[in-house]
């Protein structure tokens, strides 16, 4: 029996099994629990990579949960799409690979970082639930299923952010995040309700085929765009990002970054594959572009003045999301016009998608290094840190690589994706590229500040017996470093094999629909 066809479901089933069996594994003590966590993370990453290979080789993979065909055929001959399906095209598989690598790194890191906490089998269960939710968001082909996985990921992340229950700031951050997240989730539910009410189906491909742009669809589009942009951390809904990213334990923050990418995936799936050619005016692409520019600016200007490492990095997170939003907004703008698409639209999309993988890798690495500093030195305040490069050489090295990548220094991968974004947005409106360049300079400035303050300088008395972090944490960080260096050394291969199929799959709405429904539009 060909078990390769079960790969999409296995991607979801393995971390779910890991989550449910974690309390059992925790009964065996610390070693069993850690071993189980590593085993499941490695297995998830392996399955995601295999799935990606399969999709690149064989086209969009459709998997029906629980039955044999995606529609139900009544005795009268009427067939209606009712099954829950997983539809994996190149973009979904790409994001699943990115997310699972980040999850693996975070899992390695959390092995030793969480030693001071109690209740760790629940941490492991919540961690894998978050991974399941993220992967489910990226693989599903069904709107309500997307909402369910979004909520699974959100509730798991509420618990994980507040995991440090002795710190009042962590609980406050989780509470604020919970309120905003629940409101946006309810709006998504109402939007899904709109679609179900009008078309009597929640299958994305089926709705996309039957979609006619009316009043209700416009309201649903507004709800979906605003709520999903909120979950990514775009301005003006970004207030939860610095609090939540800063107060979560560092391995969890690395995974939260990947989860925000999953909701970004949802945003673009909605805009490109669900609405696609029906997106009448240019209001929506320009709104996304404006949100992107605002995020870039506000993120980086707020970041320069921060005193706490992780809060600073969280604001940078907001600004990097701005880059991606801007690039994909430009791609959306060019969707209806094949000439514009060939000119600048496709480049923008390639830049945006490449930036997604770059951003997840280097932002995850940055948060992990900040966590390593906190683990060793016990402080996150930049005013107190100093001179750590002597005692923590490997962490410093990885921090330098990640900071150079985020600032867009050549030849790192950040430079390549930012160059693609500058090129394409310049063709739309020159001011956008100028804004992106200024943001890049400010990013570099703030990371130079962090590097100099925390790592360079004379060794301080209070940090005399600070040692390097334990090996498993270094392993997690170096995994991300290796991926960044690989992306740096092979940008051509990455662009043509990873990014371009993803961009093509995103643009091709007809292909998405016909992979499920068979036949044409």
């Amino acid at each position: 029996m060909n078990w390769q066809i079960h790969l999409p479901a296995l991607v979801l089933a393995v971390p779910l099994l890991g989550a449910f069996a974690s309390p059992v594994a925790g009964l065996g003590g610390r070693a069993t629990r850690n071993a189980w966590m590593i085993f499941i993370s490695v297995l998830t990453t392996a399955v995601c990579i295999m799935l990606w290979q399969k999709v690149i080789a064989g086209g969009t993979a459709v998997y029906v949960m629980g039955a044999e065909a995606w529609n139900i055929t009544l005795p009268s001959g009427l067939s209606w799409p009712v099954r829950i399906i997983l539809e994996v095209d190149a973009f979904s598989a790409f994001m699943a690979v990115v997310g699972s690598i980040a999850a693996l790194a975070g899992a390695f890191f959390s092995l030793r970082f969480m030693d001071r906490f109690t209740g760790l089998e629940k941490f492991s269960a919540l961690y894998f639930l978050l991974v399941t939710g993220m992967l489910g968001m990226q693989l599903t082909g069904d709107l309500f299923n997307f909402f369910v996985f979004l909520e699974i990921a959100s509730v798991a992340s509420f618990g994980l952010i507040a995991f440090w229950r002795d710190r009042p700031e962590a609980v406050e951050a989780s509470f604020k995040y919970m309120i905003i997240s629940t409101i946006s989730a309810m709006f998504i539910l109402i939007a899904v309700g709109f679609f179900y009410g009008r078309y009597n189906a929640v299958n994305i491909a089926a709705v996309a085929r039957m979609l006619q742009m009316g009043y209700a669809e416009k309201i649903a589009l507004v709800f979906l765009v605003v709520s999903l942009a909120m979950k990514c951390g775009a301005v003006p809904m970004h207030m939860w990002t610095p609090d939540a990213y800063a107060e979560a334990p560092a391995g969890v923050t690395c995974l939260l970054v990947a989860v925000s990418q999953a909701s970004l995936y949802g945003l673009f799936r909605v805009c490109f594959s669900l609405y696609g050619a029906s997106l009448g005016s240019t209001v929506v692409p320009w709104t996304i572009i404006v949100m992107g520019v605002l995020s870039m600016f506000i993120g980086v200007t707020m970041a320069v003045i921060q005193k706490e490492i992780k809060r600073l990095m969280a604001y940078h997170s907001v600004s990097q999301i701005g880059y991606i939003l801007m690039a994909l907004g430009v791609g959306l703008l060019a969707l209806r016009d094949p000439q514009a698409m060939a000119d600048y639209g496709f480049t923008a999309m390639k830049g945006g998608i490449f930036h997604i993988i770059n951003y997840t890798m280097y932002k995850g690495l940055l948060f992990l290094t900040a966590g390593a500093v906190f683990y060793s030195a016990g402080s996150r305040n930049l005013n107190e840190l100093g001179g750590l490069a002597r005692v923590m050489p490997q962490t410093t090295f990885m921090f330098v690589i990640a900071a150079a990548a985020i600032a867009g220094l050549p030849p790192f991968n950040g430079f390549v994706s930012k160059l693609l974004i500058y090129q394409s947005t310049f063709a739309v409106y020159p001011l956008l590229a100028v804004a992106a360049l200024v943001t890049s300079v400010l990013t570099l400035a703030s990371f130079v500040k962090v590097f100099q303050t925390a790592f360079l300088g004379p060794a301080k008395k209070t940090y005399e017996n600070v040692t390097e972090v334990p090996a498993s944490m270094l392993l997690g960080m170096s995994l991300l470093t290796i991926v960044i260096i690989a992306l740096t050394l092979f940008p051509g291969w990455t662009l043509s094999h990873l990014v371009e199929p993803a961009a093509k799959a995103l643009v091709d709405q007809a292909g998405y629909i016909s992979a499920v429904m068979g036949g044409g539009l």
């Binding site: 509730v155 509420f158 229950r165 009042p168 406050e172 309120i179 309810m186 309700g193």
Partner: protein
């Protein structure tokens, strides 16, 4: 109504109630979508003579949404208890240690 409570109320518990209201309204919206005029409940057992039934699928969707809402409310209330223990107050304007 729920949005007003979330945005303008100062007591944390009232904010939690506002969220519950919001969820209840979204779920109600989903169920109403399945209504067919003159339909009876969508249960096959001992159904007898029926001509049309109300759609059952939105009921399944709503059940899932209710469960999700329950999990969120439970977590929300637990966090409120923790916040009270740490800050000693339930006034949302006092709970602002994270700012800037």
């Amino acid at each position: 109504m729920g949005m007003y409570a979330i945005l303008f109320e100062r007591n944390l518990i009232k904010i939690a109630i506002g969220i519950t209201l919001l969820e209840a309204s979204a779920n109600l919206f989903l169920i109403v979508l399945g209504y067919r005029t003159g339909g009876s409940i969508p249960v096959f057992t001992l159904a007898g003579e029926v001509r049309s039934m109300v759609l059952p699928t939105p009921q399944a969707l709503t059940l899932t949404a209710i469960v999700i809402g329950l999990a969120t409310s439970a977590l929300l209330l637990s966090l409120i208890m923790l916040l009270y223990r740490h800050y000693g107050t339930l006034d949302v304007r006092e709970i602002r240690r994270l700012r800037g």
